[in-house]
Symmetry: C2
């Protein structure tokens, strides 16, 4: 809150900035939550990957959207990084007993979200308006948007098992197969969800959250129209790879299998043409020079978000840094 | 067990009888359970009403089939008469919070049954084979058959609210609207599930369980082919109305609204052309003479099944009675 209080003290409400955060699951949700706690609600929109969405047991499941919303609503399971806190597993226990598929775990409370989302989708409601309604129910005061209301399916092409829908690669095969490439099925005809382009156009800064660049941020930017719009904006990215390792998930492993050394530099390079600034962890300070050489200004700080206070501190530092950059541009 | 032990003692296995029970929900499930505990597994088939089935929250729900199976598997909630014992309600609590429909209560464990049933139906499995598989999983050793694999929807035509799907009449409106008539939508083209006709043909006795004659037993008998087949057999019915009142559900209220005095006599009259015998409660002994006058032989006993021992005793008495009738016919 320090940043805003600072702004308000000086009566600078009129120069407050609007942010759009692009996010996948866990890491993205954490930074989105930090920004949510730091910025006025009207100044933040979170656009979430839906390429990981799946239909399972007849239900429409949006893992990243749910992780982001559960995190913002303080309903998330902080241990697993997915699902709800204090969850129980009675439904799945019965499904298992009846011989049904149990590889994709659905908690009892979490299931209510999927049942109600599926019911409304079958009534013809678009995912974006369902998400808006869910956010209201959960008391989330910012706008959370799916990247698209259309169906996009991220597939991972692997050397051992060929073409795998993302959740099979991720959950069923625990990211073990070697990655050859990615495919976002349906992306060519997918349209940005209502509000996505408008939010980006109105934003002062776009934040690429510390989510997987290949399968979380990648699909969002691949929706026709979104990358072009982001290109017009000041963009700051936070690396999901710290000290050569992904905090969670297969990002580092994917870079390696695609013959790219997994580090912050690789992430900066990934987003190179989009970036104004890049947040580098103190551990990776040696990579800052190279990134600066590309004309990308680095914010060097501690980017690991273990506790909720870490999310807030990192978000404050990013907002502070962006404000400073804007003042410099104005001079 | 006394009955079978008796038969086996005299080396009479070769004259053991086969039973088919037609059942709806609670009352039917209780007598089916009594018969299940008394008869060898190979000698009992239960055919269950599916006219009450509904699609809700995208799930295929078979309330009577589930009540029968949960009861036989000792998983049923004895207090409510539906759903599972020791149930929790976390999924519905979340659905409610999200503004979804909450009039039809689905417990967390119970939901697993509906999810897995729906998944298999969408794969093209017929309800009868799904039910067989579920019975195996739950350790139920007799054959439980849905009346049909086709979709039949019982509707209640009411004076206040017009045409209501059964579960809306039953659950949402708590049987309050006045009944004018019933409609079994889809019944003309519904075929008996595989095994239904064979089981009836092979049976020595058909037991019409103490379920609602209008909306539980009625739809089963209305499937083309079933009534004609039952007509060839010895049939014994147990009244769901005792002392002018239905033990559970709207049977008595329905008779009243259709201008028929609700009592055991009304139930016997309902099934008149089918019946060989009729089980009358001690409370209703005054009605036995009239029933005897119709050429229907009465078994007069205590038919209220409060405890599990009541189910066993009533089943034993019915099996004993049927055996005695057969011996008399043979003489």
């Amino acid at each position: 809150m320090a940043v805003n209080n600072g702004l308000f003290e000086f009566g600078l409400q009129n120069i407050k900035m609007k942010f759009v955060a692009l996010a996948g699951g866990v890491g993205g949700a954490k930074l989105a939550d930090g920004l949510y706690r730091v910025l006025p609600s009207s100044d933040l929109t979170v656009i979430v990957n839906t390429g990981d969405d799946l239909e399972h047991l007849g239900l429409r499941i949006s893992p990243d959207l749910d992780t982001v919303c559960y995190t913002l609503a303080e309903l998330a399971n902080l241990d697993t990084g997915w699902g709800r806190s204090g969850e129980t597993w009675r439904t799945m226990e019965n499904v298992r007993r009846l011989g049904g598929p149990e590889w994709f775990k659905l908690g009892d409370t979490d299931l209510g979200t999927h049942l109600e989302r599926t019911r409304r989708i079958e009534l013809g409601d678009p995912l974006s308006s369902i998400t808006r309604s869910f956010c209201q129910s959960w008391g989330i005061s910012i706008t959370v948007l799916p990247m698209t209301d259309d169906i996009v399916h991220t597939h991972v092409i692997t050397s051992e098992l060929g073409d795998l829908p993302f959740q099979e690669y991720f959950v069923k095969y625990q990211c073990k197969p070697r990655v050859l490439s990615f495919q976002f099925i349906g992306i060519e005809s997918a349209r940005p969800a209502p509000g996505v382009i408008e939010a980006i156009q109105e934003a002062d800064w776009i934040v690429l959250c510390p989510s997987n660049p290949w399968v979380s941020i990648g699909p969002i930017l691949a929706i026709p129209g979104i990358r072009d719009c982001v290109l017009q904006k000041k963009v700051i990215a936070v690396s999901p790879i710290i000290g050569g390792k992904a905090i969670k998930g297969p990002a580092a492993k994917m870079y390696e299998e695609l013959n790219i050394r997994p580090n912050a530099l690789a992430v900066a390079n990934h987003y190179k043409d989009l970036l104004t600034s890049f947040v580098i962890d103190n551990m990776d300070v040696s990579e800052a020079n190279q990134i600066n050489d590309w004309g990308i200004i680095s914010l060097i700080t501690n980017t690991l978000m273990m506790k909720i206070t870490d999310r807030i501190r990192l978000a404050e530092e990013i907002v502070d840094f962006c404000e400073q950059k804007r003042r410099e541009t104005r001079k």
